[in-house]
């Protein structure tokens, strides 16, 4: 079983690389073979990754959420499957190259550093933690998707306005759809973050004797949550749309990226208390 896990661990970055390459080439060259190839490659990668996560959980008897590198492989899977669902639902097939580089990076980093962990603290086997991590990951994935679709919106907006009809114009869907995708991703991200925060607050006193509510990551997450709440409120009440809402999404993403990068550089654990 471990041999299979190790082989899949080595193969996964290669599969993600091939899938990303297919999407990139198909973005540049509009060929039928590439279009078929990329979807098949994505589907196979998802299946292999799912199988990998499944046998890893069975073999090591815990969900892969106990180390940063376990979480990275889960995050890669979450982003990929979310993208696959978006592609199926909207039939927008040309944005993959802008998104699938993320799981490629996460999975590569994870594959190089992940360890075979059998013994983990009991606290990490809590179902609360599973839901907390899953919702937090999906929340951040949603925020990232929102920013990417927002960025594509701005690029297309600029091309149409400046009457320079390049690759973005030819390959991207329309502005309205990009704005919608950005908005829905932000909403899903916000909802998931809300659940993650609520569960965290419920679970924290149960799991730790002296929890700190001023943990930097917790504070940063709340600030991010408030920022998105402000954007969604503006959209709902003042009907903000177009570039205004897209700029908000991008700003939110930059704040998230900046705060999380700094916090992860300073603190080794997930939270101050853990």
């Amino acid at each position: 079983m471990r041999n299979i896990i190790h082989t899949l661990n080595t193969l996964l970055p290669i599969f993600y690389g091939i899938t990303f390459l297919f999407y990139l080439l198909n973005y540049i060259y509009d060929k039928r073979e590439l279009s078929l190839g990329k979807r098949l490659s994505l589907f196979i990668t998802i299946l292999i990754h799912f199988f990998y996560l499944l046998i890893r959980t069975i073999e090591f008897n815990h969900t892969p959420i106990t180390t940063v590198f376990e979480i990275m492989t889960l995050l890669a899977f979450a982003i990929t499957i979310s993208y696959y669902i978006i592609e199926l639902v909207t039939d927008v097939r040309n944005t993959g190259a802008f998104i699938l580089f993320l799981p490629l990076i996460f999975q590569t980093v994870s594959s190089f550093n992940i360890k075979d962990l059998v013994e983990v603290k009991d606290i990490l086997r809590s179902p609360y933690l599973g839901v907390h991590v899953f919702t937090a990951l999906t929340g951040y994935a949603g925020i990232t998707f929102s920013a990417i679709y927002g960025l594509l919106y701005l690029l297309l907006y600029k091309q149409i306005k400046s009457q320079k009809f390049g690759l973005i114009f030819n390959r991207m869907p329309n502005l309205e759809l990009l704005e919608y995708l950005s908005l829905v991703s932000a909403l899903v991200g916000f909802l998931m973050l809300t659940i993650a925060i609520v569960i965290g607050f419920i679970w924290l006193p149960q799991a730790f004797t002296e929890p700190s509510y001023f943990d930097p990551k917790l504070v940063a997450t709340i600030i991010i949550w408030l920022f998105y709440a402000f954007g969604i409120f503006g959209r709902w009440i003042f009907k903000w749309s177009g570039r205004k809402i897209v700029y908000l999404s991008l700003t939110g993403f930059v704040i998230t990226l900046f705060s999380m990068s700094i916090l992860n550089l300073i603190f080794t654990g997930f939270h101050k208390f853990f």
């Binding site: 149409i160 306005k161 009457q163 009809f165 869907p173 502005l175 309205e176 759809l177 177009g242």
Partner: protein, 427 residues
């Protein structure tokens, strides 16, 4: 293949001549009836606003291009026409020309989507008139196959090829569902009509037309099931529309920047697409500086058209390859039609000889031995004929020249004296 084609099209004749020689469906049917009884076994006529082309398999080798041209001119008398306005094709050349038409690369605008349907209509009319036989049926079916392959295997038909189509494509890059958008068309000229056709193709339902001369707007609105608003009122209603397409011949701009600023404030800054395809322009170009206003004039749309035409041109080598593949397949089929009777006659003759000899000698053998004798002689004949049969079939697939194939077939016919047998089989 003894197929002849006489063509008059945009390469050879000006529009006046092409219009004068255009044949309506009833005229095509009449032409086929008269022409077929006199001069041909099979005939099919393709007549569109850009071409009138006659494809036929003549009754005799004496039928000339001139006779076909004269017949057409008797039916449709036209002045000032000369032989140089016609282009004539024979055999492979005629088929190749038809395949180019069906592929959409012989049209006035390369990648014309209508032409394949027109070739299909020509084929249907000829079939209904029973003027299509084995040969033309196969030729036209192959032409339709070429058209379908070009549609599915290349990008020839993708993207707009006219300003009005580019305008609609651009609007589709801003809004996700054009069907639900409100569109205003300013002007009721030919450009507006073409744009309305493109909008209808995209199933846009909510269209309003305005024009200085109200009656022309009403006429157009009736044709495209659209609404009409008086010209003097349209500025007050601009905020209601998501897409504005303007194509008037006004010498002065109709709408200035401050008008659109007011419109945007009334629209609560919702996106507005303005497509100004008038020369001189109907909108002050500075409206494009307003947030969420997507203003594009005819020059911008021309960039999109040129990009698409370039892409279409780049597809031509791929299309020529498809045409070549279908030509090879068609002529292999045609060659096999000529080879099959020869192979059949050859086998019949060998079988006759075998039977004669078998009957002559069979009484010298016991009944049990007779069975073996029959088996033995059959095996010898089959082995003797195996190589010649394979050789002939291969010739049909590989020989480039029709003359080479005929020469080989004639040698075999004479060598084995099977000419009469082939004629009897044909009867």
């Amino acid at each position: 293949m003894n197929i002849i084609a006489v063509a008059i099209n945009h390469h050879t004749a000006p529009i006046e001549l092409r219009e004068a020689l255009y044949l309506q469906e009833n005229e095509i049917r009449e032409f086929i009836k008269d022409f077929q009884s006199n001069l041909t076994k099979e005939i099919c006529i393709l007549s569109t606003c850009n071409r009138t082309e006659i494809y036929c398999i003549p009754n005799s080798v004496d039928l000339t291009y001139k006779e076909i041209q004269d017949f057409l001119l008797r039916k449709k008398p036209v002045e000032n026409i000369s032989p140089s306005n016609f282009r004539n094709y024979f055999s492979c050349g005629a088929v190749n020309h038809l395949f180019h038409i069906a592929a959409g690369i012989d049209s006035l605008v390369i990648g014309d989507q209508q032409i394949l349907g027109q070739v299909k209509d020509a084929f249907t009319i000829a079939s209904e008139e029973n003027s299509i036989g084995t040969y033309l049926q196969k030729v036209f079916q192959s032409a339709l196959k070429v058209g379908k392959r070009v549609k599915t295997e290349t990008e020839l038909f993708e993207g707009p090829s006219s300003i009005s189509a580019a305008a609609v494509q651009l609007a589709g890059k801003i809004f996700s569902d054009l069907k639900k958008k409100k569109v205003l068309v300013i002007g009721a000229g030919e450009t507006s009509r073409l744009t309305l056709q493109n909008l209808k193709q995209k199933e846009v339902k909510n269209i309003t037309i305005t024009n200085r001369t109200l009656s022309r707007a009403e006429e157009l609105a009736k044709e495209f099931n659209a609404n009409v608003i008086p010209f003097i009122e349209f500025k007050d209603m601009l905020h209601e529309f998501d897409i504005i397409i303007s194509a008037t011949s006004s010498p002065e701009p109709l709408v200035i920047k401050s008008d659109i600023e007011q419109v945007m404030s009334r629209r609560k800054n919702q996106p507005l697409c303005i497509l100004d395809i008038a020369i001189p322009r109907d909108f002050d170009p500075s409206v494009k500086d307003i947030e969420n206003v997507f203003y594009n004039d005819i020059d911008a749309l021309q960039i999109i058209v040129n990009q698409n035409l370039e892409r279409r041109q780049s597809q031509i080598p791929k299309i020529k390859k498809i045409i070549m593949e279908e030509l090879i397949e068609l002529f292999s089929w045609y060659n096999s039609l000529q080879i099959s009777p020869v192979i059949r006659a050859l086998r019949e003759q060998f079988e006759q000889i075998r039977l004669q000899e078998y009957e002559f000698f069979k009484n010298k053998f016991s009944p049990e031995q007779q069975q073996n004798l029959e088996l033995l002689t059959k095996r010898i004949i089959n082995k003797l004929l195996h190589n010649p049969t394979v050789y002939l079939r291969k010739s049909a697939d590989t020989l480039d020249s029709q003359g080479d194939l005929n020469l080989r077939l004639n040698i075999i016919k004479e060598m084995f004296n099977i000419q009469n047998q082939i004629s009897n089989n044909d009867e």
